[in-house]
Structure formats: structure tokens, C-alpha cells
């Protein structure tokens, strides 16, 4: 599925919650609980994407031309949001990630988490994923 197809799928799932903020946040946390566990050895300072109140760990590797992200967070809500990003970006080509426009946040009522880098690592994490995509794209081009 393309990045936008996955975003639309997520928007569809959240639309069942009817804009109820409490249910939306509960659902996000539930998704976070299902995120595959990250290996403890990967939770290093080097892999931290820092926010003021919550921490995110992120690793990335290239597999068959797509990027595989692994992530975790010390707060349940951020972890849930992170799991959505991993679902959207995993196995996508670096170029597609770089050019992706994330619109699902606004549609599921979570736009407040964008641009509030100070209170959670979410906005910083999107930037970091795109940086990884840029790095892998450059690496692949140089290898050619």
C-alpha cells in the first residue's frame, strides 16, 4: 500500500470513534501497546529523539529498497502515535518518505501533537524519519 492509502485507512478506523477525544486517545494508546517491542540494546542515547516531556527511540535500516523503522517511547500516547508513523512509513522507499505529506493527524483530531516539539517527541520524530530517508536515498545514489 502507498503512504496515502495507509493514511486513508487510518483515518477510516478513527472515524468510527466519532471525534470523541477520550476514545481517540485510548485507541491510540491501545495501538501503542501493539507496537512490536524494540530491543533494549537499541534504546541508546544515540537513538533518542528528544521532546520535553516524552522520549522516543528510533532506529532505521534499509531492507529490499525500503526502510524498516523500529521505535518506542516512554509515554503511552506518544508510543501510539509513533506506532502509526511506523505503520505508514515501514517498507516504503526513501524517496516516498521524503516526499510524503502527512495529513492523517489533522483528520483524526491529533493535529495538536504536530509542532509541539517541546511537549512530546512526535514532531521531532517525523523530522528524524525523513532525515533517515534522505540519508538512505543519498547512500543508494552514491552506490550506483
Amino acid at each position: 500500500m502507498s503512504i496515502n492509502q495507509i493514511q486513508d485507512e487510518i483515518i477510516g478506523e478513527f472515524s468510527l470513534l466519532d471525534g470523541d477525544m477520550e476514545m481517540t486517545v485510548f485507541y491510540i494508546m491501545e495501538l501503542g501497546q501493539k507496537l512490536p517491542a524494540m530491543r533494549e540494546v537499541d534504546k541508546t542515547e544515540d537513538n533518542v529523539v528528544k521532546g520535553c516531556q516524552s522520549k522516543v527511540w528510533l532506529t532505521a535500516r534499509l531492507e529490499n529498497g525500503g526502510i524498516v523503522f523500529e521505535a518506542d517511547s516512554n509515554t503511552a500516547i506518544t508510543k501510539g502515535l509513533v506506532s502509526l508513523l511506523v505503520r505508514i512509513f515501514n517498507h516504503q522507499k526513501p524517496e516516498a518518505i521524503l516526499n510524503a505529506e502527512l495529513y492523517f493527524m489533522n483528520k483524526i483530531g491529533m493535529e495538536r501533537f504536530i509542532g509541539t516539539q517541546r511537549s512530546n517527541g512526535f514532531a521531532a520524530m517525523i523530522k528524524q524519519m525523513k532525515l533517515y530517508a534522505f540519508a538512505f536515498k543519498t547512500q543508494t545514489e552514491l552506490a550506483r
Binding site: M21, E22, T24, V25, F26, M29, Q53, A76, I77, S119
Partner: protein
């Protein structure tokens, strides 16, 4: 002077605060972030708009009617604040942007004049960053040292340790009247008396006291006292520094500009008298004028009534929160203003705050600008509910219910 009136009629008070009557995320707003800033009654909002609609002019030097009106209104607030904290002289009240600027003013002006290499400044482990960093800046500049009064497990200052620190003959002691993170009311009268015996001047950060505790600077005998308007129902961006006249007279200006001068030539400038010496530039006239209405609001309710009512809210909150399994209260000092910090084992404070917000409940989460205190307590942060005179027990019930739901969902 605080006037004793009938006990608190909370519904009558709430009716005066337009911001409280709204839905947040579909639920009635429960505002428990009063230690950060409290809400404004209509009369303060009206005073601000009235000033701009009718009286706006630059103060003190104008000879026209509007300038006179604006000056009169601005100076009226100075007199109100003088009465509010029982200062001896009106020129001991200096308008600043708030507590942070007041502390910076004293640290820079008093510190640059009276601190020397090797001197000591005592602060406490309960301080907000704004009563830590200005002292660090000046101590670095003057090669002076900072000593810290330790905090006990319950969140109280260790006075025995303080007495020992005083044997080092510090020049300045700077502590808060009440802690923003834990609510602890510090025994400032005793702290001041002991400091004076040791030869130090004392600055009190009154940010968390102004709306919640009676303040009498003459009875306390403090040398400096700092207040922010926005934490006492007034507008943001203004506040006061109180300083004893004889000390303020010895201190050089903090900023140069208009208003603070007597005469300027290119070779020599003579400074204006107090308080204008410390009020360079056009001040925040409109907000100062509106602050007067906040003082009136508090005086009409009566500080004693406010103290009694808020204490009742605090006791109720402690009872409700401590009854929830998994909740740990943080800050259990014997004497507290209406602030309660807490944590839930295994759940991050950020998640708790976000989830409470979905139910329209506004609390603060994090380190509350007191990182050294959080380090001392061995935590990253807390959830802090801080109450005001317009809050109700029913709202505390909603907080407790919200916390219970979060625990149920996440455990």
C-alpha cells in the same frame, strides 16, 4: 487591607469569570492550572478595555487630560499594591514584568553592587528556575557562591541545615513564600529573622502566595518581595518588586532609558527618585491599571476567606486522590497552599495530563521549572493540580474520576 466579608459563595464567584464557562473537548472546563496562571474576572478585563477605550496616554510627563488620567490610574495601582502587601512607603513598590524580572533586577543591581568574590548566596531546593538562574548569573560574574537549603522527603525545608549554612555569613538569602511544585508554605518569617541575624538581606519570591496567602512585608521584615500580576487574577506582563527604601536607594538602576533620569548630558546622567529610578521606559500602563481591579477583587473576597476555602479544597483533593490505589501524593508538607502534585506508578505524567485534557480537565505536567527539586525527589516530573477560589469540590470529583479511568485503562 483585607476586608472580612461573608464566606465564599463559589457560584457567585464563578459567574465573574467568563473563561470558565466553556466546553473543552465537549466537557465543561475544569481549570486546575492556577499555579501557572489563574483566570481573570470580568472586572479586570473591563478595566483593561476601559483604559484603552478612554484613558490611553503616556504617563508622568504629559500635561493633557488623558495623560493625567492615565498617570492617576497607574499610580492608584501602586497605592493598592502598597496596601495589599502592607508596605510602609509607596515608592517601595516598583512595577516590573513580574517575579522573574523582579528577581533579575535585585540579582543584577544589588548583586553587582554588594556581592564580592567568595561571598555566598543562599537559595533553597524548592526554588523555581527563576529564583535560581538569576543568582547563578550574578554569582558567576562576581565570583560568588550559591548554597542550597536542602528539602526533606515531604517537601519541607531543612531548617537545621539552613542554620548551619548561615554560619558562612551569606550576603543574600532568596527563597519562595510557597513552592509552585509542591505547595509547601515556607516559614519565611523565621527564615528572614535568622538571615538578618547572620547579616544577610532576604528576597522572597511571592509568586505562589499573592492570591493565596496574606502578605505583610513589614511584619515579615523581608528586604525584597516579588509578585506577578497574572497569578493573582491580574493581566500577564506586569508585577511588582517591593524593596525596603533604604536598600533601593543604595542600588544602581537596572536599566537605562526614559523616566528613570533626572538630567541627562553626554558626560553625566543623574537618576530619578524612587520608584522611577527602576522604571525605565514606558511601562505596561494598561495592565498595571487593570491589576488594580484584581486587587479589589481579592480584597472584597477577603484573604482569610480565600485561605479557608482553598484549604478546604486542598484537604478534599488529598482525601480523594489518596483514596485511589496507585496514586502517590508528592509534597505532603504540613502547611501548604492549594497545590497538589501526584504521580501514578507505571504511568507517565504526560499521558495522565493528556488524558485528563480529553475530559476538559486542565492540569500541568512535567518538572514545573523546578528540575533540581525533581532530581532531589528522584522523579522526572509530576501531575500538578492547583486550585483557586473559583474551583469546586465537584470539579475535584471529576479529577479523581478521570484519574481512576486512566488507571483502569492502562493497568
Amino acid at each position: 487591607m483585607s476586608v472580612l466579608t461573608a464566606p465564599i459563595d463559589v457560584e457567585k464567584i464563578r459567574a465573574q469569570f467568563p473563561v470558565l464557562h466553556q466546553l473543552v473537548n465537549g466537557k465543561p472546563l475544569v481549570y486546575f492550572d492556577n499555579a501557572a496562571t489563574n483566570q481573570k474576572p470580568q472586572r479586570v478585563i473591563d478595566a483593561l478595555t476601559h483604559y484603552y477605550q478612554h484613558d490611553n496616554a503616556n504617563i508622568h510627563r504629559g500635561i493633557h487630560t488623558l495623560a493625567e488620567r492615565a498617570t492617576k490610574a497607574y499610580e492608584a495601582t501602586r497605592l493598592s499594591m502598597q496596601n495589599f502587601i502592607h508596605a510602609r512607603h509607596s515608592e517601595e513598590i516598583i512595577f516590573t514584568r513580574g517575579v522573574t524580572e523582579s528577581i533579575n533586577l535585585v540579582a543584577a543591581s544589588y548583586g553587582r553592587t554588594f556581592l564580592h568574590a567568595g561571598d555566598e548566596v543562599i537559595i533553597s531546593g524548592l526554588e523555581h528556575h527563576s529564583n535560581i538562574v538569576p543568582w547563578q548569573l550574578i554569582c558567576e560574574e562576581r565570583k560568588a557562591r550559591i548554597k542550597v537549603i536542602p528539602v526533606t522527603e515531604s517537601g519541607e525545608l531543612d531548617l537545621d541545615a539552613y542554620r548551619k549554612l548561615l554560619t558562612g555569613k551569606p550576603k543574600v538569602v532568596a527563597v519562595n513564600h510557597a513552592s509552585n511544585s509542591l505547595g509547601t508554605i515556607n516559614p519565611v518569617k523565621e527564615i528572614i529573622k535568622l538571615a538578618h541575624e547572620a547579616g544577610a538581606v532576604v528576597l522572597i519570591d511571592g509568586a505562589q502566595a499573592s492570591a493565596h496567602l496574606p502578605i505583610d512585608v513589614q511584619e515579615l521584615d523581608c528586604d525584597f518581595y516579588c509578585i506577578s500580576s497574572h497569578k493573582m487574577f491580574g493581566p500577564t506582563g506586569t508585577g511588582i518588586l517591593y524593596g525596603k527604601r533604604e536598600l533601593l536607594e543604595k542600588m544602581p538602576p537596572y536599566m537605562g532609558g526614559g523616566e528613570m533620569i533626572k538630567e541627562v548630558t553626554f558626560t553625566k546622567t543623574t537618576y530619578n527618585d524612587l520608584p522611577y529610578k527602576f522604571e525605565a521606559g514606558t511601562p505596561n500602563i494598561g495592565d498595571v491599571v487593570a491589576l488594580n481591579e484584581a486587587v479589589n477583587f481579592i480584597n472584597e473576597l477577603g484573604k482569610d476567606n480565600i485561605v479557608a476555602y482553598e484549604h478546604e479544597l486542598l484537604v478534599y483533593a488529598v482525601e480523594k486522590l489518596s483514596a485511589i490505589k496507585g496514586v502517590k501524593l508528592i509534597g505532603t508538607a504540613k502547611k501548604k497552599v492549594s497545590v497538589q502534585s501526584f504521580a501514578i506508578e507505571g504511568i507517565h505524567h504526560f499521558d495522565i495530563g493528556q488524558m485528563l485534557d480529553t475530559r476538559g480537565i486542565a492540569v500541568r505536567t512535567g518538572h514545573h521549572c523546578t528540575q533540581p527539586l525533581m532530581d532531589r525527589l528522584g522523579i522526572e516530573g509530576t501531575v500538578r493540580a492547583s486550585f483557586s477560589v473559583y474551583n469546586t469540590k465537584a470539579e475535584i470529583d471529576q479529577l479523581a474520576e478521570g484519574v481512576e479511568r486512566i488507571i483502569k485503562f492502562l493497568k
